[in-house]
């Protein structure tokens, strides 16, 4: 069974992986897209923008209001 500490360590590793990917993308000088580029690409279509904005709205309501 996975304990609380292990869960936090795995969350930290996943966060580090995201940051690592972003650094690699920044150092690749455009060969690999960054997270911002990915979001821009997805939201360039109405359906993508709608889904992302709804997810953002849910996140804010869930985290700060309810």
């Amino acid at each position: 069974m996975i304990g609380r500490t292990t869960t936090f360590v795995i969350w930290a590793l996943l966060g580090a992986a995201l940051v690592g990917c972003q650094i690699v993308a920044a150092l690749s000088r455009g060969r690999l897209p960054g997270l911002g580029t990915l979001v821009k690409r997805v939201t360039s279509r109405n359906i993508g923008r709608g889904v992302f904005v709804l997810a953002w709205m849910w996140l804010g309501w869930h985290a700060f209001a309810r």
Partner: protein, 142 residues
Amino acid sequence: MERPSGIALRHGVTVAVSTAGLGYALIASSTRPFTVAADIVTAVPLAVALVLTIRTMRHRRWSYAVASARGETDRPPWSRRWTVWLAPIVAIGAWELYCFVSVPRVQHPTLSVLIDSLDSSRIGKTVAFASWLSLGWFLVAR
């Protein structure tokens, strides 16, 4: 008097919006969840984002129709270089799901629990709210 250039104007707007967002986040950090004040302070950016998104989507649909009539709607296809983000995003989703279905929650904190921990202090909530606002600005103001 000389008119500001496009870059200077954009820089000015960014500074003004950032300052306003930080001030708003500071106000929001004084509220507590499950109160009317928290509902109102969270609902205002949601309403603004909703209006801006609907306006942009309607404008885009019109632009797309015009471009479509001219045969200019082709977009570059997705390439393999985008898959660099697939592994971390799928891993985070899978881990969140695992934590969500596992009990007790105290042993398996989800992202919501991590955010709640951040929100427990005034400065943490200010940072979290300001980050959420800037993410929203990034999504709707283009």
